[in-house]
């Protein structure tokens, strides 16, 4: 019997006329596709279409194409369904995958249109006029008191600690362990240059990054990896990670192979042991437990802002309200399209709701309760472009956070094999021969370019909208219209349909 019934996803084709047998493809492929017997012999069954060989072949001799093998078409039994069954019939484990869901769910962002000024109100040219994106994350007072002083006025209401962002686009938590140290370095360097923030993810913070403390949010997740008093104070805020958009309700599993010496000391676990994050925090079984942890972290850090990250699930509005009332300063909403280094496909593809809808209902709920000032809202999980940034802010986000987009900027091709640890681009791997491929300065430069480019685009839209500060876009759903959404979704978003 054959070892596997699963046919190759891709076909690797070598143009032997062009190939000069330099063997760069053998060196570059993290998935061991290539062999050399007088000439390069590809094993297409291993190819994940990460394009590392294609990009690095000096002769452009390699082509990767989707396997054109025909299956008898069946509208219910798609090829993906059949392949999943063959895999599961071969081995009784759950199907693992990486990054965000690739199923064609309705994308609400793609059904929202932005307004612009014509005649009755002038648009503003962002190249000639100031255009302000500065954003502060954290609790704000409901109102301020001032008193007369020295012919002017003096502030009587202290505003608590807030995080200042020069641009309301942050980098999402991706743990050291799931990604390489060079990725963390690139994110930290870029965050510093952009005046924004990176997030450690749940794997602790390598000491080499301590100098970037002002640009880092440190995470405290259910595994408590690398959490100690120094760590908590090596950031501008602490984030309690309750859930992740790609895998709401479940924990995490970083295999022992990824736990080398550096990861081991950063995470404070033995070399080679699996790093298992429990599904819940074992000290949080209710909202009042969360409150205790929030205040414990505030006490430990001199009252820095505390963020609570949740996956957007069905009852997200009520949950967010509870989190605000439990004392959080920031609520991080991770939509169901959010990325992951490793997630069971069933969870990634079928659990949670889109961040666009979650954002709309959370913002509305907090306003209804009159507590919107208490927290800042970060929207993440599926922010792909500056257009998504604008739409998320207009729906009510204070800032957005990007993970997948940042990785793509560094070379990621979205092959979705992060969980294998074989990342040819040196991103989602700990193998020294692979991690060395990613130059942190080169990657940081690309991140700075990407976010700066988005910043220009956001400013261009603000100018077209005739406003010169991002707070005039924030929650301003009047400047959005829906196109092609059903009536109920439109109503839930609290956005008018185009034409109204």
């Amino acid at each position: 019997m054959p070892g596997s019934l699963v046919t190759s996803d891709f076909i690797v084709d070598i143009d032997y006329e062009r190939c000069r047998k330099c063997k760069r493809c053998l060196l570059n492929c993290g998935f061991d596709v290539f062999d050399f017997k007088d000439r390069v012999i590809p094993d297409s069954s291993k190819c994940v279409a990460c394009h590392r060989c294609v990009v690095f072949c000096p002769e452009e001799a390699i082509t990767v194409v989707e396997n054109p093998l025909s299956f008898r078409e069946h509208s219910s039994w798609g090829v993906d369904k059949r392949k999943a069954i063959w895999k599961q019939a071969q081995s009784p484990g759950m199907i693992l995958t990486g990054m965000g869901t690739d199923l064609p769910w309705l994308n609400v962002f793609d059904h929202l249109l932005i307004d612009a000024c014509q005649v009755t109100n002038p648009s503003i040219d962002p190249l000639r006029e100031p255009m302000e994106l500065r954003t502060y994350l954290g609790r704000k007072p409901d109102k301020l008191e001032v008193s007369p002083s020295n012919g002017g006025f003096k502030l009587e209401t202290p505003v608590g600690n807030n995080i200042k962002l020069d641009v309301p686009i942050m980098f999402s938590g991706m743990s050291y362990g799931s990604v390489s140290l060079n990725v963390h370095k690139a994110l930290a360097i870029a965050a510093e240059r952009l005046g924004t923030i990176m997030n450690t993810g749940e794997g602790g913070l390598h000491e080499e990054l301590y100098p970037y403390a002002d640009r880092i949010i440190v995470q405290c997740a259910s595994g408590r990896f690398g959490v100690h008093a120094d760590y908590l104070n090596k950031g501008v805020a602490v984030e309690i990670k309750i859930g992740q958009g790609a895998k709401p309700g479940i924990g995490g599993h970083l295999p022992g192979e990824k736990i080398g010496r550096e990861v081991s000391s950063t995470r404070m676990i033995p070399v080679g042991t699996d790093a298992l994050s429990p599904a819940p925090h074992h000290d949080i079984y209710s909202i009042e437990d969360l409150k205790q942890l929030i205040y414990a972290l505030k006490e430990a850090t001199g009252y820095k802002p505390v963020s609570v990250k949740i996956a957007t699930v069905h009852n997200v509005a009520a949950i967010a309200s509870g989190i605000a009332r439990a004392g959080a300063d920031i609520i991080y909403l991770d939509g169901f399209r959010g990325g992951s280094g490793a997630s069971p496909a069933i969870i990634r593809d079928h659990v949670g709701i889109p961040v666009e809808i979650a954002l709309a209902v959370v913002d509305q709920q907090l306003r209804k309760e009159g507590i919107r000032n208490w927290v800042s809202i970060i929207a993440a999980g599926g922010i792909r472009s500056a257009a998504d940034v604008v739409k998320a802010i207009a729906l009510g986000a204070d800032a957005v956070s990007v993970g997948t987009a940042a990785l793509i900027a560094m070379g990621c091709r979205l092959c979705q094999k992060c969980y294998t640890g074989n990342c040819s681009w040196g991103i989602a791997t700990q193998k020294p021969e692979l991690t060395g491929r990613l130059d942190p300065d080169w990657a940081a430069e690309r991140l700075v370019n990407l976010i700066t480019s988005w910043e220009h685009e956001v400013k261009e839209v603000l100018g077209a909208l005739g406003v010169n500060a991002v707070e005039s876009l924030r929650g301003n759903r009047e400047r959005l219209r829906t196109l092609g959404l059903d009536e109920m979704t439109t109503e839930i978003l609290d956005v008018k349909p185009a034409g109204r």
Binding site: T120, F153, R367, N468, S472, L473
Partner: protein, 386 residues
Amino acid sequence: MTRGRQPAVLEGWLTLAFGDQYEKWRVDTSKVPAACGLSGVMSRDGKPIGGDVIIESMRVIHDRGNGLGGGFAGYGIYPEHANHYAMHIMFEDSSGRELCEQLLESNLEIEAAEEIPTKPSPQIVDPPELRRYFAVPRREKLAAEGIEPDDFMVKLVMTINTTVPGTFVFSSGKNMGVFKAVGFAEDVGEFYRLPDYSGYTWIGHGRFPTNTPGWWGGAHPFNILDWAVVHNGEISSYGINKRYLEMYGYECTLLTDTEVMAYLFDLLVRKHRLPLEIACRVLAAPFWKDIDIEDDPQSKELDEALRMTYGSVLVNGPFAVIVGFSRGMVGLNDRIKLRPLMAAYKDDFLYISSEESAIRQICPKPDKVWAPNAGQPVIGELKGDV
């Protein structure tokens, strides 16, 4: 039809009062852009100024309006009823009047009720029934609600305006009144017989709506309690200003964005007790680049806190406004001055207008005339002993 959402408190009240009917009467809250001409005059000594003065000023800037809305507010015009809320109400529907008067009767002690005197003119067509009521909230109602008279009146006005068919309260302050209609400002002033009144502050408005429902309530000034706002501009941040106000129980019910100005002033100055000057610094906030280089740490700290806390109150987009209140008036431009605004002094008189000509028409030789800077308020207040 997109329906406005009521704040929770008001929602309960409305449903209690009107049941199913309430759902039917809710209004479309889409906004209508408009541009306009404005003028204001006040005496800081509290000297009486005839209504004809403001009419003359507005006559010069006739072309800034298009005849689809004009209006005025005068302060100090009802000295004989100074301690009563003067409610000016328009009725386009007789059943509305009946329902409204029941509401007034059950909630207020009415000292006087009468028609608002008018002089019919061919320029002003199809006027609704216009009446005014001088009244104070009933004590037992205040006790039952446990709120201040001002808050009670805000709630009552919003209830009537959002629920009673064809009925609109367009003025609700003490010793002041708003007069407005569809028509050119000067014709509206004559229609309401403004030369018969005198007050210490007057503001006027000629409207040029770019999409008109041709509705009397849509003319300026917009009013709540003592606040009256005349506005030239379009509020590009309307959506978030409105949602911020909704958190505090204000319901934006009218077909224009100007009312948010009135409510924002009411919220910031009356409820949050911010000085007028600071309220203006929130509405037309200074740029971060200017805050960052402020020398005075006290002022810098305050400006940072104001922008962080009141970001949703920043009124963005082109505007020039004149806001009347019981102690005076304030003129304010948006933070990059995208609409015209001029000011002048003569003795104890302050003049603010869209155009210098409208000022010189009623004050040919002012002591000082200037164009206020972007975001810098011009504040005129009655002298301390007046």
